[in-house]
Symmetry: C2
Subunit: 194 residues, 2 copies
Amino acid sequence: MAPTKAIDGKTNGTTKGLAAQIGKARPFQSPEQEAYLNLIRTAAILSNQFERLFKTRGVSESTYNILCILRGVAGLQGAAPGKYGDPATRAGLPLTEIGERMIAPVPDVTRLIDRLEQLTFAARRRCDKDRRVIYAYITNAGLNVLRDFDDEVLELHKQHLGHMSKDELEHLSDLLEKARQRASERRAETAATI
Amino acid sequence: MAPTKAIDGKTNGTTKGLAAQIGKARPFQSPEQEAYLNLIRTAAILSNQFERLFKTRGVSESTYNILCILRGVAGLQGAAPGKYGDPATRAGLPLTEIGERMIAPVPDVTRLIDRLEQLTFAARRRCDKDRRVIYAYITNAGLNVLRDFDDEVLELHKQHLGHMSKDELEHLSDLLEKARQRASERRAETAATI
DNA sequence: GCACGATAGTTGTGAAAACAATAATCAGAG
DNA sequence: CTCTGATTATTGTTTTCACAACTATCGTGC
């Protein structure tokens, strides 16, 4: 298995006490740093493989996330369950709200929608009440490509994390949620004071 | 606090059972997916603030990581502890090895070194024994900028994760290490078979 | 010695992200 | 009504990233 790497590239073997023995050459300077580096490395490796999967059909992880969001809002008002109605009247979402709902905060939603529009997976519609806002909504082609992805995505999740128990996964989720608690507050602060 | 977001942008409140009640509109399709999305979101938020810190002195998280690696190898052979000797004879590392040691795997080490060289934080030296390999090593300016960062980095780690106990942080690290176990094997596989 | 494949690094190109500046529209105060 | 400030989206610019093609060098076997 891949050992944990410290920020200076030294590897941290499984023997926990080793770092303390060596003393000066201990790989991590604090438990916070160790957790952070593990976080970044794990996210990069897993995300990388998803990027590769998504790219087979021309979308990135960000644009895939947007498509999922748009499918979600389109389904909320659908008459029949599982159906998304006529594209002409399909529910959409203002670009700013899309940005707020995304997994990884991204400032530039406009260009992501641009790409989805070029791929014919999404489209724009101007709001009549407030002509500043643009609604983006998912097209039938977008729904199709999402459906094609559905099984592969769940399968890749299983491949990545299927060896972990349900308890471990939930515990991991809880710890991660707690880990970003402070940073989110910090973000809200700086945003509010400016 | 910021609620967990599902891939379709629906927020997951603190009441755990709610998703099951609603049934069709449950935010996550599997515990694996929930853990993955928490992982990506947390990494993006924390990493973003580090990027902002590093950018104040012209480096990115990747180039910062490289500088730490180069400082590490430079210190390994230093005569006096804490000293790094003469830049002319300072130990370096081949570019490929730098790539292997990095926290987040990056294919394009050449251009990262290019930038560090422009910033005068690193330099190149050709290997005499094997003229294909280039050693990169850290300059005195690089050591200085790293030293400037040291306290700020630890401080930001504290701000982000200081509210978590040592046990929680270690547990988080363990779970993250386990989480990327399979993906690392997979990566090795695909790399070997090609 | 020379051809061969393998390895290390560079370069080229197109996609993606970050950040700031701009244009259009709205809402409220006077 | 009109001015002002706020909001929404777009555009421009620069940097960064990902992937593939290319060059130079090495080591091996003939």
